[in-house]
Symmetry: C2
Subunit: 550 residues, 2 copies
């Protein structure tokens, strides 16, 4: 986390109420807490992670010593540069493999200017195996690739693959520019070299990539009249929804799963993310929630003591000596937040190998330690469910990948300014008030770029995007699992007859897009069935309109 | 016209039927005709022109010798570089002057990337004189500036100024980037230096400019809830209509006058432009139409004869020696096409000082010459109505402004690829079949840029944009005068309840946007009244929805 400190250090804002809340600790302690919270919030994002396999631990059993990797909390800063190793590894081979061809499409680097820039090859995965073809106006299912390797999304979006045959649908997974193998300038190293090379990593360019690819693909197949249905999860879901607004002629509808398009300035409540994470813990156990809530001060206090950092290093089984207790706080925050996202009802390994309802398991650990176990020992036991469920990790490395420039961090430093705060009255995290000027300072320091916090809303439907969607949009499913912290910034209410929210109380981050399993609860089966029904309706409407026009 | 030859020379395509049509002339003649037609078509565009004042002529009266200027046929290549002199001149002071402030707004050069580029100042004209203010949700009327100096559009768009007071509306005229005083890189010279500096002259960037300006303006005035109505004529009308598709949240409706959004590959018939020009002449007089139709061969034949170019130079009172008869053909084509655009029912001076229904006057001249007057003498008499109605021109300069890089030519070499052909069965112009490869060659030679002929349709609603408008659009008036050759590429049928076409049989290019005059025929008064009624309905609907929501 060393590389995130730029952000923390500039976060000097201390509100008046925080003084009351932390009245019992020193002002120095306060400052560090603040930094920690800032850290946690500023970099939190959709999760793509490196899997780690390590032996399980408990309050009473010491860890075995095996090799380990720490988990990045978000795709840009930490994980992207590691993705190739993930996707090249044995691990990828363990996730479901679908049959597709891998192809490349030449794209302009800047669709909206005529600057002389090198074109780049956008990767896309394609399967026509079940396509009923252009004559029968066979549909084309397109997954809007998000901030990572497209193979990984393809592997984790079983829903699209599973329903395609019954629709006679072609399946296409285009990769998002600057991720995976879709690198401008020929390589990741060159694409991520500096702000100049990264400058074309924007959402509008990505949407234009999709549009150009789909248009060209259809033309080449004489499939201009074939209806396209978009799919996307998380940021990919945002892209799918925005495609409906900006390129309504490209697709007849979009399933936007866990797509926080409202998580922008002056739209959604910035508290919602941490409130939902916190509630996910509280619903399992009030004492678990309280233990975690108390742990931040305990952690900071311990870090301040003589040899405290060394004790924390040992207690949390860190591979290297802890430099600042805030680094550890960030690691914990990351674990809790990711747990909330993947709080799936059955065992899964999307981000990590985890049991069903993993937060239940975390709280069981935290609450179940023998009397006399310290708060910090308890939270370590708890968070180990996330970082070390298999029990094979010998130590945790907080300082992994310290200097990799990463895609999502760039995006959050440019367009994806998604304010988050932590409300001390409702959250188990330390108080934090979103601090745009601190973020700007970080982005200027880190990337020499100025964020444009207002741009996304200006470009995509305005502050009152719900009215814009209602008035101009159609055929979007916003599916949400309400345990997912991103659901707070997503559309969770029906907007119109054809823009609907499908919420599940017990669902987490884009669970519906995952492959069906034998363990799927009824509500999940029903959610997917409704999605299929709606997609069938879009197609029926399209064919009817097409028939009437011909 | 010398500077257009690049285009002609590469136009070597000769179709099979053209041989039949021109069977009686030599293959060389054919080639030249072809070049001439190509010339006429490739550069034809919305008109902004330099006014010329000169004494009137007739078949029997020789011209007096006074100073002259030739009229550019389109805004980019010829006129833009001359615009400052027009707007600085006494001539501008003769057109209606409206009261406004001139302000500047800082814009990004590329809204869709984070490239380090210098910002530029976009000029806009603003009047709050009649605005009822933010508390009363006073409307904001925004004219989408097109390819020229915004002061000139403001002066020629009296309709907006005249209706604003009764609406309690603010009036804003933002200038289009790279025109007038809205020059990136600090000056026109620098902005138009080369393809690299020109590369940000695109429609998407211009729309984003409008969006950013309007959003900022409203925020600064605490007028976020005030409804915006867009206006635009010609290319400005296209921008207004496209704004409704791409930024539907920015404005509640758009009056798009003479906006040929269908004049793109595989949408509108490419013949329509020249067919309409031709019909405008034919409706006045079949013999006039036939004389013009026969004149092209006569012109080419004369140019081929010994001393023919010298005779043509004298006959057409050219200031300099004619170098190629095709240059003269282009000048004639330009005159006829512009006449069709400004074939207004009353005397006007939008492009030139002209009588009411000037084509009627042209045909009267052509038909009215004494027996024995040659075809070429007749067409010269006719076209002089356009180029020299005041009779004060002593000679015509075909070779004006030969090297100025110009905005619209750049735009037509990049995004604004608007195919036009001339159908020998219906047109009075020589046959020409749209030749994309020749255009591409021209653009590569002239600007070192590759046109993207498919991009506009990909970006704005697809090939089936009528369905896209019907399905996703709302509140657009497409107003057309059916004498206007651009009406062939415009929306002339109602699309939906709220996207309507208001056509006038006798109207020409965005006549409705001009200031009311005492000579306005009833149908024009009615057209404007309907527009006002529809705009009032948009506002009423908006206030009702707003009231219901509050």
């Amino acid at each position: 986390m060393r590389n995130l400190r730029g952000r923390h250090r500039i976060s000097e804002y201390i509100s008046s109420t925080i003084v009351e809340w932390f009245a019992w600790i020193s002002s120095k302690l306060l400052e560090i807490m603040q930094k920690m919270a800032k850290h946690a919030i500023a970099v939190l994002s959709f999760s793509i992670a490196l899997l780690t396999l390590a032996p399980q631990s408990s309050c009473s059993q010491p860890f075995k010593s095996v090799s380990s990797r720490r988990t990045p909390r978000f795709p840009g800063r930490f994980s992207t540069s590691k993705l190739p190793s993930l996707y090249d590894s044995q691990l990828l081979k363990q996730v479901p493999q679908y049959r597709y061809e891998t192809r490349y499409f030449e794209q302009r680097l800047d669709h909206f200017s005529f600057s002389k820039l090198p074109k780049f090859s956008q990767r896309y995965l394609i399967s026509s195996e079940h396509w009923s073809g252009p004559k029968r106006l066979g549909p084309i299912f397109v997954y809007c690739g998000n901030e990572g390797d497209i193979e990984w999304f393809a592997a984790n979006t079983g829903f699209v693959w599973e329903i395609a045959p019954s629709f006679g649908a072609m399946v296409v997974f285009p990769e998002h520019r600057y991720y995976g193998k879709s690198m401008p300038f020929g390589s990741k190293e060159k694409a991520y070299k500096n702000a100049a090379t990264l400058s074309y990593l924007t959402t509008e360019q990505a949407l234009a990539d999709f549009t150009e690819l789909i248009t060209s693909l259809k033309r080449n197949l004489s499939a201009e009249a074939c209806p396209v249905v978009l799919f996307g999860g998380s940021y990919g879901g945002m892209l799918a929804a925005w495609m409906r607004l900006k390129y309504p002629h490209i697709a007849i509808g979009a399933l936007a799963s866990s797509a926080p398009i409202l998580q922008f300035p002056e739209i959604a409540e910035p508290d919602s993310f941490y409130d939902i994470v916190s509630n996910d813990f509280k619903r399992e156990s009030a004492s678990c929630f309280n233990t975690i809530k108390a742990s931040w001060n305990a952690l900071t206090a311990e870090g301040q003591k003589k040899d405290g950092l060394s004790r924390l290093t040992r207690m949390f089984r860190l591979c290297g000596e802890l430099k600042d207790s805030e680094d550890l706080a960030g690691w914990l925050d990351n674990g809790y937040s990711n747990l909330a996202m993947v709080n799936y009802p059955y065992p899964s390994d999307f981000l990590m190998p985890l049991p069903g309802y993993p937060i239940r398991e975390v709280c069981r650990k935290i609450d179940g330690c023998p009397d006399g176990t310290s708060i910090l020992e308890r939270v370590f036991e708890g968070v180990s469910v996330y970082y070390n469920y298999t029990g094979k990790v010998d130590c945790f490395d907080l300082y992994d990948d310290p200097h990799g420039m990463a895609g999502w961090d760039w995006q959050s430093c440019t367009e994806m300014v998604m304010p988050m705060s932590s409300n001390p009255h409702t959250s188990m995290f330390p108080r934090y008030d979103f601090d745009l000027s601190a973020d700007k300072e970080y982005c200027r320091t880190e990337y020499k770029v100025n964020p444009r916090p207002e741009w996304i809303t200006t470009e995509f439907g305005g502050k009152d995007i719900m009215t814009t969607l209602k008035t101009f949009g159609s055929n979007i499913i916003f599916s949400n699992g309400l345990l997912d912290p991103w659901s707070g910034g997503s559309v969770t209410k029906n907007v119109s007859d054809s823009i609907v929210a499908l919420n599940t109380q017990e669902g987490a981050h884009h669970l519906d897009l995952r492959a069906a399993t034998a363990h799927d609860p009824d509500w999940l089966v029903e959610q997917r069935a409704t999605e299929i029904k709606l997609i069938r309706k879009w197609l029926r409407d399209y064919y009817q309109a097409k028939g009437a026009a011909n």
